[in-house]
């Protein structure tokens, strides 16, 4: 903790008291609200609460965001909730910004039990949404200088960073492949995973390219599903049937330009500052982390988070993951133990959060990391990132 911080960080007042996840699949043909209610009911029960006790709702991104889903208002109304606080939006520290805000609301006493959710109906999106995905409309400012050049996918933008990382540090495709293969290995232990058949390095190197240096297996799998967590005041801990995950620190900083193409360093992204701000708020450090859940919307993003969080030096992410031993179940930093989005589906950050809590509770089953006390969760890429440090007890 920095000297400037004389009081306990406010986030220590909050815990994650419950988790819930809907059915997850490639093409469920269920509405976002339907999946959301399923996840929320499971999370509320898991926290030992009833819907009457939920007095806050927070979601990312809320109305109009990418990949479909349900809004906070949709859930609010469907469950006839009586709320002290509600929030949703895209302009935050990535997907986990919804958790950050819920934590602050709880710490400030605006609500005692906030349901935080992210729902995606990307697999079924073109069927459920009239006009299909991305139909019509003017471009948001951030996209105006990308779309005219056929750079329509985040794969293109992030591939540019990966390519620069390779150029400066000698990172290889095999090293990116180690992240994909690691995820696939864990996915085999996750009943909800999308892809579970074993993947070899030859499989990885042989599949078609999407946007150099990314092949198909560097890109995550669109899916349908909803994940919810309950952020409660820590006073609820004795009543939480499955125990809680304590919020030790939040990484919220966005110090560089909020841009895919104008960010100052093309070998890292906003995670550089997000991670730094996380460690500024705690006495714990990278060496204390037992399990890491680091966003893999594209494989290289995980590598960028590994470097940003200080698990290795800048530019050393490739050698760090190479071979996969270090990031496997018996390694020093078991990584993306639910399979990650590459193999278990684009639950848009919240799959990582769900897994971190599961691991801290010791409920990971075959994929449980022994003695997991400290978990880091990071989500997002480009200018939209955030992270969390969760602990089993108070640290």
């Amino acid at each position: 903790m920095t000297n400037a911080m004389t009081e306990e960080p406010l986030e220590r007042r909050a815990v994650i008291s419950g988790i819930g996840q809907s059915e997850v699949g490639r093409r469920l043909l269920r509405t976002g609200l339907d999946l959301t209610i399923e996840a929320v009911e499971r999370a509320v029960a898991d926290a030992g609460l009833t819907l009457d006790e939920i007095d806050g709702v927070s979601t990312y991104p809320g109305t109009g965001g990418p990949f479909g889903g349900a809004s906070g208002a949709d859930l609010h109304d469907a469950l006839r909730l009586r709320l002290g606080w509600r929030d949703g939006g895209l302009e935050t520290a990535g997907q986990l910004g919804a958790v950050h805000k819920a934590v602050l609301a709880v710490a400030a006493g605006l609500a005692r039990h906030v349901v935080v959710f992210r729902t995606v109906v990307e697999g079924s999106g073109n069927v459920l949404r009239p006009g299909g995905a991305g139909a019509g409309g003017a471009l948001p400012a951030q996209m105006r200088y990308l779309i005219p050049f056929g750079a329509g996918s985040a794969a293109n933008w992030i591939a540019c960073y990966a390519q620069r990382h390779m150029h400066e540090f000698g990172t290889t495709r095999e090293q990116l492949g180690a992240i994909a293969i690691n995820g696939r290995r864990f996915a085999a232990m996750n009943p909800k995973a999308i892809y579970t058949e074993p993947m070899t390095m030859d499989d990885y190197l042989g599949v078609r390219m999407i946007s150099d240096p990314f092949c198909l297996y560097d890109c995550d799998a669109p899916c349908d599903g909803s994940t919810a967590v309950i952020v409660s005041h820590r006073g609820h801990e004795p009543s939480a049937p499955h125990g809680v995950a304590h919020v030790n620190a939040m990484g919220t900083a966005l110090r560089g330009r909020p841009s895919w193409d104008q960010f100052d360093d093309l070998t890292t992204m906003a995670m550089r500052d997000s991670a730094a701000s996380l460690w500024e708020r705690t006495d714990l450090g990278p060496a204390d982390v037992d399990v890491a859940q680091l966003y893999d919307g594209f494989s290289w993003l995980t590598m960028a988070w590994i470097e940003a969080l200080g698990f290795c030096g800048r530019g050393e992410g490739g050698p760090f993951v190479e071979g996969g031993e270090r990031i496997g179940l018996g390694g020093t930093l078991p990584l993306n133990t639910w399979g990650g989005q590459l193999s278990s589906g684009r639950l848009h950050g919240f799959g990582f959060l769900h897994e971190a809590v599961l691991q801290l509770r010791g409920e990971g089953g075959a994929r449980q990391v022994g003695g997991a006390e400290v978990a880091v969760v990071a989500a997002g890429g480009g200018p939209e990132v955030g992270c969390l440090l969760l602990t089993r007890g108070i640290r």
Partner: protein, 145 residues
Amino acid sequence: MPARFVTPDQSDEFFWRSGADGLLRFLACASCGRIHHPPVPRCPYCGSRDVAPRPVSGRATIATYTVNRQPFMPGFEPPYVIAIVEIDEDPTVRLMTNIVGCEIDDVHIGMAVDVTFEESGEWFVPLFTPRLTPRLTPRRQPPAS
């Protein structure tokens, strides 16, 4: 030629019209002299409101690139090169763009490129092409005298 989806507003119409005379322009500050991008009404460096479009040389360097091989967007036939280039006058000013007029395999980080414009409706979309550098040394050494 793909239909390029250009959607300017008052702030950046000049940018997308600039190529009509073959020149690339950025907003430049009359007070501190720096150019910036995307255009905003107040100089991000010194705070002056005295900003106006100013032509640059059109010379740039490829900072990074990707070869897109997936048909993500209607009208854009893969493969094609998406690059981020740094403008010579101020390398912190970058453009995402396409590299045209060369083989895909010839594109590399650090490559010197020049702007070229593609007309798309009423707009001029800045693309970049490898610079044809004049040969600095004679092809053969002159005979020793």
